[in-house]
């Protein structure tokens, strides 16, 4: 049973006048075998949260439990976890086999068992040919696989990933993402994956924790986060291009913000007026940037159009209509989602 429970977890650096609180009470229940992604902009506290689960940072307040056991005072090696780092953190003077075997040797696992586990992990990750090489003789992608192999052989209850794909180039990132998904399907180990990339979050997560400035803004499946964001932050963070947020939408109650995603605005005659500022052609679709003619003319709106549709002229006025079932309303004061009474 490898569930993770975060109970009002708080992190404060320093004390007294120089105290800096970076995590403000995170609560989450993660079930056995779930793949959870913690996503947020740089500085939001996601890595700090992960490191508190790992035991590399002290937990200032609250409790973290792994497999039903409170781990606040346990050393990382006692928590039955394994971690994959952004910079791989392979021991440079040891070859691939020794890198993977090191933790097991310290745990006094018999050599036969070590060899068997390493061979199995090497097979899954296809690094069997590199066993005698040193890390400096491997490419970035190979090193990352060795780092994952090192985590797998420990057969932990929880995998922790700290932005492992950030150091890889775009193509390799996409490929490794698929490998991580495959790995999770095969091994089924509870995983906590930290990233700043919302694409990685959307594609990998079974559920995701969206963090902003130390606060957990939403903890839900990718579908829910996309279709029902809990705050304006989540609405604009997830989804590229981001959701349009309009303070001066027609028919809006005062003190509310209307959110509408670029793909849910249709160019139709008789809708809201926009003057076209810029057009970006992406091949499969086009992004049209325009400014509201209504309410001061300074709110930027992005519309997604198919390749088949006519290209608007720069500077011309077009009219758009939002899909009525895809409107999101947020309270301007709290920035939180309002569930509109039907």
């Amino acid at each position: 049973m490898a569930s993770i429970t975060l109970n009002n977890v708080i992190k404060i650096y320093g004390s007294g006048k120089t105290a800096n609180q970076v995590i403000h009470g995170v609560n989450a229940e993660i079930s056995d075998g779930e793949f959870i992604v913690v996503v947020g902009p740089p500085g939001c506290g996601k890595s700090t949260l992960l490191r508190m689960v790992a035991g590399l940072e002290e937990i200032t307040g609250g409790e973290i439990s792994i497999g039903g056991r409170v781990v606040n005072d346990l050393e990382p090696s006692e928590r039955d976890i394994a971690m994959v780092f952004q910079n791989y953190a392979l021991y440079p003077h040891m070859n691939v086999f020794d890198n993977m075997a090191y933790g097991l040797k310290i745990a006094k696992v018999p050599m036969d068992e070590i060899k068997a586990r390493v061979a199995k992990a090497a097979k899954i990750l296809e690094i069997g040919d590199y066993m005698q090489r040193k890390p400096r003789e491997l490419s970035g992608g190979q090193r990352q696989r060795v780092a994952m192999g090192r985590a797998i052989v420990r057969q932990p209850q929880v995998f922790l990933f700290d932005e492992p794909l950030s150091n890889l180039d775009a193509k390799l990132r996409a490929h490794t993402r698929l490998e991580i998904q495959k790995l999770h399907r095969e091994l089924g180990i509870t995983s906590l994956f930290v990233t700043h990339d919302q694409v990685e979050a959307m594609t990998l997560a079974q559920r995701m924790i969206v963090m902003n400035a130390g606060v957990m803004e939403q903890f839900a499946t990718p579908d829910e986060v996309y279709s029902a964001p809990a705050s304006t932050f989540v609405a604009t963070f997830i989804g590229s291009p981001p959701m349009n947020l309009l303070k001066n939408a027609p028919e809006a109650r005062p003190g509310t913000i209307l959110g509408i995603r670029p793909e849910h605005l249709e160019i139709t005659p008789g809708g809201w007026g926009l003057s076209v500022d810029a057009i970006e052609t992406l091949g499969a679709e086009r992004l049209v940037y325009g400014r509201w003619l209504h309410g001061g003319g300074d709110e930027l709106v992005i519309i997604r159009t198919d390749e088949g549709q006519a290209v608007p002229e720069l500077g011309s006025t077009i009219h758009v209509t939002p899909r009525a079932d895809r409107l999101h309303w947020f309270d301007a004061a709290t920035q939180k989602r309002i569930v509109r009474p039907q």
Partner: protein, 284 residues
């Protein structure tokens, strides 16, 4: 040179050859003098620059001692070379062990007065040996360590330079490596032995070479605290052969000087690969 002008190439070669000549000439003279007999050196002015034929006897006398031409006793250099070797080995090994552990403590542990301790070690860099040599002699004498191997080497083991070198090196080891080791279950000393030590290999080799030569060339300290001939290092032996009033057996002096130069030269040549690597290596 980016330009290819034959005149400049010729000039640069001339300058380099002149430099080599200036450095190598005294060495050449020393070797030549050690192959001649004492009379040949003193009687022909200037001394002949061609190698003589007395090499074997001269070196034998220099190594094992014997009678000089004027009848006085010459002490053999062989026991003195042994003393030099022992001190030149104890000092680097002691220094490396101690400074590595000190640097490890300073970089990886948080303890009260940590910064103060570091700065105190750093401040001792400003104290040359000569400043503290009087008090050191008193302490060594009162501990009864005069004229012993321990007395020769132990006071010279503490090194701020080596601690500083290792500290700077340890600071370049990425934090993630420490964290990965922590997750693997390695305690501090295990981490030190399995990760830091191997990574420091080239730094250690470079330091060993420098400290070996330093230990081998020690003159002032042994001069002060050794009292019997069997504890003199070879550099002192060379000086003692050059008598002020009595007759100096120059060929033996030169031969002893060459013998004294050999071990450090061998050490440097054997370890020069690691020596350079240790000073510039940044591979992680």
């Amino acid at each position: 040179m980016i330009e290819r002008r034959p005149g400049l190439t010729f000039l640069s070669h001339v300058i380099l050859l002149a430099g080599v000549a200036v450095i190598a000439f005294p060495l050449y003279l020393t070797v030549v003098a050690s192959t001649q007999s004492a009379e040949q050196i003193t009687q022909s002015i200037p001394m002949s620059m061609l190698p003589g034929t007395h090499a074997l006897e001269t070196y034998k006398t220099a190594l094992f001692g014997g009678e000089s031409a004027a009848g006085s006793r010459i002490a053999g250099a062989a026991p003195m070379m042994w003393v030099s070797l022992v001190t030149a080995l104890i000092i680097p090994l002691g220094k490396i062990t101690m400074s590595m552990l000190s640097a490890f403590a300073i970089v990886y542990f948080r303890f009260p007065f940590r910064n103060l301790v570091f700065w105190m070690i750093f401040v001792t860099l400003m104290l040359p040996v000569e400043v503290r040599i009087g008090p050191t002699y008193e302490v060594v004498a009162s501990l009864g360590m005069l004229n012993t191997y321990a007395g020769l080497s132990i006071p010279l083991i503490a090194s701020a330079t080596a601690t500083f070198l290792f500290r700077q090196f340890f600071l370049t080891v990425p934090d993630e490596l420490v964290e990965a080791a922590r997750i693997d279950g390695a305690g501090p000393m295990r981490f030190f032995k399995d990760v830091l030590l191997p990574l420091s290999a080239t730094s250690t080799a470079a330091l060993f070479v420098i400290q070996f030569i330093y230990g081998w060339n020690q003159y002032l300290w042994p001069l002060l605290m050794t009292t019997s001939e069997d504890m003199y290092p070879v550099v002192m032996g060379i000086k003692r052969l050059i008598g002020g009033d009595s007759y100096t057996e120059w060929n033996v002096v030169m031969a002893t000087a060459i013998l004294a130069m050999l071990p450090p030269a061998v050490v440097v040549m054997l370890m020069q690969k690691w020596f350079v690597k240790g000073l510039v290596d940044t591979e992680k």
